[in-house]
């Protein structure tokens, strides 16, 4: 008996998913747990595996379609079954009314069926005055077709602020020539709306509108929620980094080719500091305070579309080299969108480092429900006091973003003090 297969909810927070790729094809025999498709969600590209066995009789959703969970995407049944009714049923499917208040307004209209989905709205918005008949007649040009126009016409169009897409060309290959543009303007052809053209010869174009990816939407939603509901405050401490530099040199000198980074050492130190001063390792969740018993550090990794925060579990208990290897592996897989959901969830504390871009210090947005986040600035040359003497030294600024509901000013400050001591004298991490 054939059945409609709906898009499964592949993560707890998934409100919609984009069908990235069909792996199974119509006519394929499917076993339970066979890979049907890859689906891009707010978290990662997830595997969509079959709960049923049978033959994939019909694919109902195209690659690239963005759909809500449960939207029909395929029909699985036995070879040769009549599925006309099911196809009809799938066509008439309408998403359950969604009364969740936290879903942003535009996501509701997302589950467009194929038929009414518009082509990518990447082109600049057009504006035309419908009042004039000459101008209202749009030339028969397929979207994406090149507009041929003489250099003179292109210059005139810039100066007159005319969109050449509205002008019919009478020259060879449909080239728009002076005569065509003159006729268009005499007929009251429409100028572009923005008559506030800039300096002569400079074309002021409208923004290019692009659909946000699932990841961008997730970032937008989570960070807006964080900044609007979490009372942030920020503490900055300036750390003498000489000891850290020396320790890293010693470590790398003893390694055969492998290298640990400053960031690896800072992850380790921040984790040890949380173990020694656990008050900063807490979350506010629904009116309760969760005192974490493990130290799981989320590490912000920039990827093409935005950023993800894979988690280094038990970072306080791991050696720096293990941390280093783990972070490298997580970063590579993050860029390939191959991280599993588990690897990106349930951190207890975050670290974000923009030092490599020369950022001296910055205040980051907390990754809820974590209670604090450490923002790491650049290593810099700075005067420092050593043995009571002014000397040239290396320093680094660390800024802790705290959720005031669980981490008060004094708590955050004492945590930073502990961390400062560990970073300035890394051997004390061994104690």
């Amino acid at each position: 008996m054939a059945k409609i297969v709906g898009l499964p909810k592949l993560s707890p927070t998934m409100e919609e998913g984009t069908l990235a790729k069909w792996v199974a094809q119509e006519g394929d025999t499917i076993e339970v747990d066979d890979l049907l498709a890859e689906v891009e969600t707010d978290k990662a590209t997830m595997e969509f595996r079959s709960f049923d066995k049978g033959v994939l009789l019909k694919i109902l959703a195209d690659e690239g379609d963005t759909l809500e969970p449960d939207t029909p995407v395929a029909i699985i049944g036995e070879e040769g079954e009549d599925i006309a009714d099911l196809i009809e049923e799938a066509k008439n499917y309408s998403p359950k009314s969604d009364s969740d208040s936290d879903s942003d307004s535009d996501s509701k209209s997302k589950s467009k069926s194929k038929s009414d989905s518009e082509p990518e709205s990447k082109s600049e918005p057009e504006s035309k005055s419908g009042s004039n008949t000459a101008a209202a007649q749009k030339p028969q040009r397929k979207s994406g077709d090149r507009i041929f126009a003489s250099p003179l016409v292109r210059r005139m169009a810039r100066e007159e602020d005319v969109d050449l897409a509205d002008v019919e060309g009478s020259g060879p290959h449909g080239r728009i020539i002076k005569r065509d543009l003159d006729a268009f303007l005499e007929g009251g052809g429409a100028r572009k709306k923005s008559s506030s053209s800039g300096a002569a010869g400079w074309e002021r174009k409208a923004p290019v509108v692009e659909k946000a990816s699932q990841m961008r939407k997730a970032i937008a939603r989570r960070l807006t929620e964080s900044k609007q509901t979490v009372p942030h405050f920020y503490l900055t401490i300036d750390v003498d980094a000489e000891g850290l530099i020396a320790t890293r040199q010693q470590m790398n000198g003893s390694l055969d080719g492998e290298k640990v980074s400053f960031n690896d050492l800072i992850i380790k130190a921040a984790a040890v500091a949380l173990r020694r001063y656990p008050k900063a390792n807490a979350s506010w969740i629904d009116g309760e305070i969760h005192w974490h018993q493990v130290v799981d550090v989320s590490v912000a990794v920039a990827v093409d579309e935005g950023l993800v925060t894979p988690v280094v579990r038990d970072a306080d208990r791991k050696g720096v080299l293990d941390i280093s290897r783990e972070v490298k592996d997580l970063a590579v897989r993050a860029r390939d969108k191959k991280l599993s959901l588990e690897e990106m969830q349930n951190g207890t504390f975050s670290i974000s480092n923009l030092g490599m871009y020369g950022i001296e210090e910055f205040a980051a947005v907390i990754n809820p429900p974590e209670g604090a986040l450490l923002a790491v600035g650049a290593l810099r040359d700075a005067p420092t006091i050593r043995d009571g003497e002014l000397a040239m030294g290396k320093r680094m600024k660390l800024t802790l973003s705290c959720d005031h509901r669980v981490v008060d000013g004094a708590v955050g400050a004492q945590y930073l003090q502990v961390l400062q001591r560990l970073l300035e004298t890394p051997s004390t991490m061994l104690l």
Binding site: V153, I177, K178
Partner: protein, 328 residues
């Protein structure tokens, strides 16, 4: 203003410069006793004597080289090639010596010399004697190339060329020698700067760049087109190297269309150079690609009807103008 033939205008220029400066002399085949193969130098031998109007053997490489040497030592030779076709045997003297001496001597020597004679096709002189040599000489840095179309331009430009301290290639035309045109009266000296063009006819719809003999075909084409309401502007650069690109571009910026007419073959040459410079200087003003009308890409046939077919005709010019004007 009086009317003179082209040949008389050239003769007047030589005579006046010889009268004004005793260092100027004329040398070439049959320039003296025969009074010039095309009678350009008629009367000059009796006026200036054999020391300043010198008949040479048929030895272009020789008298071109002698001229260059004379120029290096302070004289101002005017070297006549009976036609420019014969200059090919003197090509090495011109390209390797005349055009190079100033540079190779580190500025020690000037070479104030004029090479002149008829260029292009005459009537039925066949392929070996019908060359338009302007593409060959305009390619050479270190020399000026002048190609006047009218008697007035010929006189004014030749006088300037003789006074110029660098080699000048002066291209006249066998079929131009009988052309009549206005020339300033005797005593009214006119010098025309090298590198300056001239508007031959004003118009608003299409620029025709034309020089040498086809200037007249372009003029006829413009008259024909005017009857259909297409007003052409004719610009004669007069000097092909250096080129008065600003005058040409100014015209094209006004008319938005351009046809370049030349007698030389279509591959390269000043015709192509003009198109190249114009498309850069006037790109944003062009409503159509620039067109060219030249001789067909073949050795000149001897048959009269075929010769007419190969040379740029009035009809081919009008067709080209209609084409760039998107007119039928």
């Amino acid at each position: 203003m009086r009317e003179l033939r082209y040949r008389e205008a050239v003769r007047e220029a030589i005579r006046e410069e010889m009268e004004a400066d005793e260092k100027v002399f004329l040398m070439g085949e049959e320039v003296g006793h025969y009074q010039g193969a095309y009678k350009v130098s008629e009367g000059l031998l009796s006026q200036f004597g054999e020391k300043r109007v010198i008949d040479t053997p048929i030895a272009e490489a020789g008298f071109a080289g002698i001229g260059i040497g004379a120029a290096m030592t302070g004289l101002r030779p005017v070297i006549e090639f009976m036609t420019w076709n014969f200059s090919f045997v003197a090509f090495d003297q011109i390209i390797s010596n005349a055009a190079k001496i100033r540079q190779m001597s580190g500025g020690t020597f000037d070479v104030p010399i004029v090479f002149r004679g008829p260029n292009g096709a005459a009537k039925q002189v066949a392929s070996q004697h019908s060359h338009s040599v302007d593409p060959f000489y305009t390619n050479i840095p270190g020399i000026f190339v002048v190609m006047p179309a009218t008697p007035r331009d010929a006189k004014g430009l030749l006088k300037t060329a003789i006074r110029c301290n660098d080699p000048v290639i002066f291209l006249e035309g066998e079929t131009l020698y009988n052309v009549k045109g206005e020339v300033p009266d005797e005593g009214e000296e006119e010098l025309i700067d090298l590198g300056r063009g001239r508007i031959g006819r004003e118009g608003s719809d299409c620029t025709i760049v034309a020089f040498g003999r086809p200037y007249y075909e372009a003029m006829q084409a413009a008259e024909k087109l005017a009857q259909d309401g297409i007003e052409c502007e004719i610009v004669d650069p007069r000097t092909l190297r250096p080129l008065d690109i600003e005058l040409l571009a100014e015209s094209v910026r006004k008319t938005h269309r351009c046809v370049v007419v030349h007698e030389h073959w279509p591959y390269g040459g000043p015709g192509a150079e003009i198109v190249d410079q114009l498309q850069r200087e006037a790109f944003d003003w062009l409503d159509a690609p620039i067109a060219r009308v030249g001789s067909l890409d073949v050795p000149m046939p001897y048959a009269s009807n075929l010769e007419d077919f190969v040379l740029p005709t009035v009809e081919r010019i009008t067709d080209a103008v209609r084409n760039v004007s998107y007119a039928k």
